[in-house]
Symmetry: C2
Subunit: 136 residues, 2 copies
């Protein structure tokens, strides 16, 4: 590598032509990607985008999620300011979750990716079939 004084030329960035891309594992894009790329976050965001929901309601709706992961997921989303958590001081406890304005904008942005997927899924399936056939 380069000199010992400075860690790296661009401090964990790689520069290609005029294009710069952050390769740090904790870069901003990476953090959001880890969030929407995990197993449940996107699903929770999509559901909360339709309306405010309670904990158990989410758990029942999202088929297969464990209590633990729903809690963990919601905590992460809350920490990122994407979801708001409202505790009603009643017995039994009632907690409402809903998307924040920030969360709404994220979901809107992700929609373009969903649309892309729906548009090109057949191409991908075809590419996979071709690849798998060729390698057999």
């Amino acid at each position: 590598m380069e000199e010992g004084t400075s860690k790296e030329p661009s401090d964990s960035c790689c520069t290609v032509d005029a294009f710069q891309w952050d390769t740090r594992e904790d870069c901003d894009v990476r953090q959001i990607l880890d969030r929407i790329g995990d197993k449940w976050s996107l699903l929770v965001i999509a559901l909360l985008d339709t309306r405010c929901m309670r904990f158990t309601e989410l758990k029942k709706t999202i088929d297969g999620i464990s209590q633990r992961m729903l809690t963990v997921t919601l905590r992460q989303l809350e920490r990122d300011g994407l979801v708001s958590r409202t505790v009603h001081p009643v017995v039994p406890p009632r907690v409402d979750y809903e998307l924040t304005p920030l969360g709404v904008t994220l979901h809107a942005t992700i929609q373009s990716l969903v649309t892309w997927t729906e548009t090109h899924q057949s191409e991908i399936a075809a590419a996979r079939a071709k690849y798998d056939a060729a390698s057999s």
Copy 2:
């Protein structure tokens, strides 16, 4: 499962209002999400969007990636039809990788997510700081 009134208890989909979301672990969106959400794919796509690159070139440019993971990542992207692999019959071997038209459109779509992240990173950082402060 089907006790009484239950109507197809989300065999693989959950329906909320007029909104339907596929909760299957192997749904189309999930597959693409797993791809762009993994550790290296998006980085490879971004680099190849700038220009065609060789294996070693990618390895040198992407700081921290192992040979194995670069190979695995490229194979997956190739299988999905996002990246094309060209072997030149020379010695020593030379293999060029480049984005397919499909891969280019995916990268373009992802850009909006990157832009969103850059736009809202400060809000997220603030939300996290607030959350962490409150929970201490």
